[in-house]
Amino acid sequence: MRRETIHAWLMLLPALVVLATFMHVPAVETIIASFWSTARGARPSHFVGLKNYERMIADPVFWQAMRNNLVYALVTVPLSMGLALVMALLVQGRVAGRAFLRMAFFTPTVLPLIAVANIWIFFYTPGFGLIDQIRGLFGLHAQNLLGTGSTALYAVAAVAVWKEAGFFMIFYLAALQTIPPTLIEAARLEGASRWQIFRRITLPMIMPTTLFISVNAVIDAVRLVDHIFQMTQGGPDNATNILFFYIYRVGFQFWDTAYAATLTVVMIVILSLLALGQVVLIDRRVHYK
């Protein structure tokens, strides 16, 4: 082997060891585990083939979690990204109290999601929570948003949007700052309206950032479940049970690790396909410098 090749491998080694230990080996083990049964007391684990997958397809809670997750993603991804862009545009230009606004928008990101969940529990508390107090001013009756099956999922989605938008705003803000002001001036001189400048200059130029954020937002829509533990425990009647939360329950509350592994494989496949799809689909329309 040539010296440089050896050097290259030596350089890669630390990262490789860490990644292999904590990601690649467990991932492969998870896939293997999904084809075996869960060990129970006297009965050791044995090979069951696709049985876990058959069980999953027949599991109504799995399908509900998938549906919930889809709704959760469809609400949180576009809303948090849209809000992030609006906030970034707002605090990008010369606006009074810009530093304060930026900080205010970013604060939710700094807080742990568990803390955020506690704040929102106070907002949502029926009768004397912030939301019901405001509703009370308009003479509206108290409501249990978290305890009602039809609203609970949206209530927890709102928390995720509130938490995420400020984080994504930072990326949009950074992207907006890289657009040379002379481009905007040149467009203004040509008679482009503010909307035309936004749609034809700003938006295309921040597309790489949009792609990056969208991949992250989709992953977070699957991954961010901390507040569900705190706020609803997946209830009422599985209304806020999303895939990752369900995996945790199956794996660490019911201790059915084989089935949890099966669900994990499905989740990872879905996430990989989504990320791949996003990159392939959007990448074609993204201009990189």
Partner: protein, 386 residues
């Protein structure tokens, strides 16, 4: 395609009515300093006016005021007989080429050029022939589908020009358009831009800090310093009659030599200005010593010590250096310029004020000037313009 373009647009004479621009008492204060102060001059219609000055002299701010990107804090800009006031840039009927070119990196060359037409809602049927015609003028026909990043600096410059030309706006502002190009390309583009400006009859305002660009391209030069107009005139006027020591040192390469007059054996108190090519070695005159010589091929630049002041003499290289290190220099008397040692303003040969300088002098002496003196100045001014 080109023929079609020509036959479809013969009735258009887009640049026929290029207006002039007058700046009247224009000022721009930023919170900490004044970038432009009390600037008044005329930008003649259909001519190329160069705003020249060192960096930070306010020339770019002045251009941005004309473009409407900044609002003046004093004075007004009048174009085609109407004050521009706070009219937005798009409605001023001006095109602009930016120093960075400001090309949209995600759009093709064709989309970049037609961006303005497209946002103003020009019909596709009209856009295509105009694009073809401009692309042909600028030699961009084969590059229309490329992105700016795939072009060389010179090609990007052409696209930026094409974007200004296709708008068919009669006034074109240029902010140091050649500063990002290498020396050879810069020389070519100078000629090209000047030819384009003449061919289309554009009123062009061209900002640069490069006096060679100013001298070679300008119909008129407005020399700026510290936010004020130092001198304005044709390149010949400014070169031959610099209004101040600043103008004398800024224009010309190497610049005009400034030597205390008494060291040349002239009456003291003033500063004597001599262009390097106006000095020659002589058998008698002011004593000088050769310090070094720079060979330029055709010319020889000789650095001299004239009674303690440094001066540069330019002579044909084939004349060679004199054998003696200590010698004398002479000059053509009509080439000698005198400047006030304290204010740096030019003095006329008789000791009064030179013609090119009356504006500054009026300003400087406005407070003390008596009515009859003002009249005299005015007469002188008229003479100067004639």
């Amino acid at each position: 395609m080109r023929d079609v373009a020509r036959t479809q647009t013969p009735t258009r004479t887009p640049f026929a009515a290029a207006p002039g621009i007058s700046l009247r008492g224009l000022g721009k204060r930023f919170s900490t300093h004044a970038a432009v102060q009390d600037v008044s001059f005329e930008i003649p219609a259909g001519a190329l006016t160069v705003l020249l000055g060192p960096s930070g002299c306010g020339k770019s701010t002045l251009l941005r005021l004309i473009a409407g990107f900044e609002a003046p804090t004093a004075g007004e800009i009048v174009m085609a007989g109407r004050s521009l006031g706070d009219l937005p840039p798009a409605q001023r009927d001006i095109a602009m080429v930016f120093q960075s070119y400001a090309l949209f990196p995600h759009l093709t060359v064709a989309e970049n050029i037609t961006f303005g037409l497209s946002v103003r809602g020009t019909a596709k049927a009209e856009m295509a022939p105009r694009l073809a015609r401009v692309a042909q003028i600028m030699g961009l026909e084969t590059l229309l589908d490329r992105k700016p990043a795939q072009l060389s600096g010179g090609q990007q410059q052409r696209v930026a020009l094409a974007r200004a030309v296709i708008s068919e706006r009669p006034v074109c502002l240029m902010d140091e358009p050649l500063s990002n190009l290498d020396a050879k390309l810069r020389a070519e583009m100078r000629v090209e831009i000047r030819a384009l400006q003449k061919r289309l009859g554009l009123t062009m305002v061209y900002v640069t800090h490069d006096q060679v660009e100013a001298m070679t391209m300008a119909d008129r030069i407005v020399l700026m310093n510290a936010g004020r107009v130092e001198q304005e005139g044709t390149p010949q006027e400014i070169y031959a009659h610099p209004a101040s020591t600043f103008a004398a040192r800024f224009i010309g390469s190497p610049p005009m030599n400034l030597i205390p007059a008494d060291r040349l054996g002239l009456p003291g108190g003033a500063m004597a200005g001599l262009r390097p090519e106006d000095m020659h070695f002589a058998a008698a005159g002011a004593p000088a010593r050769v310090k070094s010589a720079e060979y330029l091929g055709a010319d020889l630049l000789v650095t001299l010590d004239v009674a303690g002041s440094e001066a540069v003499l330019r002579q044909p290289a084939r004349a060679g250096l004199p054998a003696d290190a200590a010698l004398y220099i002479g000059w053509a008397p009509e080439a000698l310029r005198l400047f006030d040692a304290a204010t740096g303003l030019a003095l006329a040969p008789g000791g009064g004020l030179s013609q090119a300088n009356e504006a500054q002098a009026n300003e400087a002496q406005a407070n003390e000037a008596q009515a009859n003196e003002a009249q005299a100045n005015e007469a002188q001014a008229n003479e100067g313009r004639a």
